[in-house]
């Protein structure tokens, strides 16, 4: 194979985020413009995975300078080609502007969003073409795999992962090396290794981005894991609604087979291993390992009691090891650089980094990787750029439907497994939803419970019936019909569901309710006792709205948006709300430009 030198590489992010903001169109225009200036042999266009800064997409990075262009529109491409690629002049107006100083930042590494991150798992995301095994190998890929298979015994691999202190990144934080050792020690003629890519938390896209951006890293991690436990076959269980991730994984698997990195006698070590992709239909419960394995076997995805643990009896009754995508993503780094290097990042009990998907009311929506032990405040303000619209932060939801809401006053806790558990949340797989003062915490709890209630597989009564009853109570509270004793009932039900459910779906479903009850009880009480939603989110609560005639300018905006046509009045004259028809939805108050509308006390 003859390498071809290009003087400049233009990297276009084609993660799902940037694709949906128009990256494919940008690429098409770029190809045309390059040809127009006869630059197609000098400049290489590379599609990459997610750069993480989805908020600013479509993203384009031009090397050798490493100039970072954001929110590129098709009309901008001509100028980039003519000015930058042809004449070497950076197009200032497309550079990233710092949030508070509005200074233009030309290169990637100087942007605040990236400065505080520590990228181990995401090191190649946005840096290489995920559809090219050659690029992965060129940046050092499969070296760890070769080292493990030819220079280390399986026991040594396990010892290295154990001493690195790697813990499961799917949420619970079980030590990965120990898991591998348990599966290794079970004697059997056949063993399996599975990658759990059934990411289903609302607002979470870490695993998807990693599979889309650097699929070979996951495959490499799985080969090393398989060698360690003695498996010769593996599955990647990924949900069907991740078509791009599946497409790129499929390409990666074929390339790895072509290079003999999957198949027989890998690296001449005598070790054989191959991988399959299993597409999941998108049931949340299939993220639970026993339900996931049932689904691979073609059965209905329902969990079963443990023990026996998968390490003893898993897929088709054989010893099986299941790890999450990000966990496998850490393995090549540990084997290549050693446990010591891995431990040097993070905290004593939570080594390494964690990838988070930042969403909600935050300026820099996107994908970030930070050292464990960093505080929530640093992630949200220094990397995430703070709350949108300059509003006050109310809470951060971590860990998805199984996690909890952390209130603003606890923002200085470090991000590690133990600290998050202590405050009633959990690490989870890495969803981080930021909520501002306009969010109603009762409504948030109801949203997450609605999710788990409809995703409950129905096997265990406490989860199936209990979450339904809890949801009914929350619905009542949100519509102003809460009763004294509801909160105690929610707590009692919640704790019982946690204690008596078979799997972690039920075992954690009440968490969003219990954690908001713990930190925002006054909001629940306002709904029940005063029939009032302090954040003005829950519609139809309490007294009708009234217009202050002295302030009203008669713009009639409120009347146009009232769903009940309850507002009347002549143009430029004070308007009136008919208290009989008003359902207290509060839409009018939100629309009024002069704040003349409020709820009657």
């Amino acid at each position: 194979m003859k390498p071809t030198f290009y003087r400049s590489h233009v990297l276009i992010c084609t993660g799902t985020g940037c694709k949906s903001s128009g990256a494919s169109q940008i690429e098409a225009v770029l190809a045309k413009e390059l040809e127009k200036h006869n630059l197609q042999d000098e400049i290489k266009v590379v599609e990459t995975g997610c750069h993480g800064f989805c908020e600013k997409g479509p993203i384009m990075i031009v090397y050798p300078e490493g100039v970072f262009y954001c929110r590129v529109k098709p009309d901008d491409v001509g100028q980039i080609v003519e000015e930058h690629l042809l004449k070497g002049r950076i197009v200032d107006r497309l550079l990233y502007q710092e949030l508070h100083t509005e200074a233009s930042i030309p290169t990637y590494r100087e942007i605040d969003f990236y400065k505080k991150q520590h990228r181990i798992v995401l090191a190649n995301c946005g840096r290489i073409d995920p559809e090219s095994i050659e690029e992965y190998i060129a940046v050092g890929g499969y070296e760890a795999c070769g080292k493990a298979l030819t220079e280390m015994t399986p026991e040594e691999v396990i010892a290295e992962v154990k001493s690195a202190g790697l813990r499961g990144r799917g949420g619970a934080g079980f030590p990965t090396g120990l898991k591998w050792e348990l599966t290794r020690k079970t004697p059997s003629d056949k063993k399996y290794i599975i990658c759990n890519a059934d990411e289903g938390d609302p607002g979470a896209f870490m695993d998807r981005s990693l599979l889309e951006g650097d699929p070979h890293r996951i495959i490499e991690g799985m080969i090393i894991g398989a060698y360690a436990i003695g498996a010769d076959e593996g599955y990647i269980y990924v949900r069907a609604e991740y078509p791009l991730a599946i497409h790129r994984l499929q390409i990666a698997l074929n390339q790895a087979r072509k290079y003999g990195l999957l198949g027989e006698d890998i690296f001449g070590s005598g070790f054989n291993f191959d991988l399959h992709i299993k597409k999941g239909a998108g049931a949340f419960v299939c993220g639970e390992e026993t339900a996931l394995m049932a689904s691979i076997e073609g059965k209905r995805g329902m969990p079963r009691p443990k023990p026996p643990f998968p390490s003893v009896s898993g897929l088709w009754g054989k010893p099986t090891n299941i790890n999450n995508v990000e966990t496998f993503g850490n393995v090549p780094y540990i084997i290549k650089n050693g446990a010591e290097a891995f431990r040097s990042v993070g905290t004593e009990k939570s080594a390494g980094t964690k990838v988070f998907a930042l969403t909600g009311k935050i300026n820099n929506t996107g994908l970030v990787e930070v050292p464990m032990g960093m505080t929530l405040r640093e992630v949200i303000y220094d990397i995430g750029g703070g709350v949108t619209g300059g509003k006050a932060l109310k809470a951060v939801q971590i860990g998805g439907p199984s996690g909890g809401c952390i209130p603003a006053e606890l923002l200085d806790i470090p991000i590690d497994y133990e600290s998050l558990n202590e405050v009633g949340a959990m690490m989870g797989s890495g969803g981080m939803v930021v909520m501002d003062e306009t969010t109603c915490m009762v409504d948030v709890a109801r949203y997450f419970l609605q999710f788990t209630q409809s995703e409950s597989c129905g096997k265990c009564t406490p989860c199936r019936e209990g979450t339904k009853r809890m949801l009914e109570i929350l619905d009542r509270i949100c519509s102003g019909e809460g009763q004294p004793g509801d909160l105690e009932l929610l707590e009692e039900l919640g704790n019982h569901i946690k204690d008596t459910s078979l799997c972690q779906l039920g075992g954690s479903a009440p968490n969003p309710v219990l954690s908001t009850l713990r930190y925002f009880r006054d909001e629940y009480e306002a709904h029940i006792n005063d029939k009032r939603c302090p954040a003005n989110v829950c519609a139809g609560m309490g007294a009708p709205y009234v217009i202050d005639e002295l302030t009203c300018i008669g713009c009639s905006l409120c009347a146009r948006f009232c769903p009940m046509d309850a507002i009347s009045g002549d143009k430029k004259k004070p308007h009136k709300i008919d208290p009989e028809q008003c359902i207290a939805c509060g839409v009018c108050a939100g629309k009024c430009p002069v704040h003349a509308i409020s709820q009657a006390s």
Partner: protein, 125 residues
Amino acid sequence: MKSLEELRRLRETLQQDMLARNGDGNPRIIVGMGTCGIAAGAREVMQAIMQQVRERNITVTISQTGCIGMCEKEPLMDVQLPGKGRITYGHVTPKDVESIIVQHVINGQIVEDLVVARLEEGEGQ
């Protein structure tokens, strides 16, 4: 893949493809691409550089710069080896490119005949 050695050999070849993305510490070639440079033939010089780099499989970072005021001497081509001063060649033709690359970039010998300016390391940066 039959051995770790095989992977390492393959990686060395493949790294050439990635040069543009991690060029710190490479020799740099800079071409003046202002309007004056392009009018004087800088595009053809650039193409000749690309051809030489590909044929000889060498490790360099190529970038462009705008007009630096010596429009009279365009096309201008600068070469800067790591830790060395920046040498500016003037009136460069595509034919000169080969000798500049072979003598200067590869062998470290400045092509004195074509030099129009020198910048010591750290100066004027």
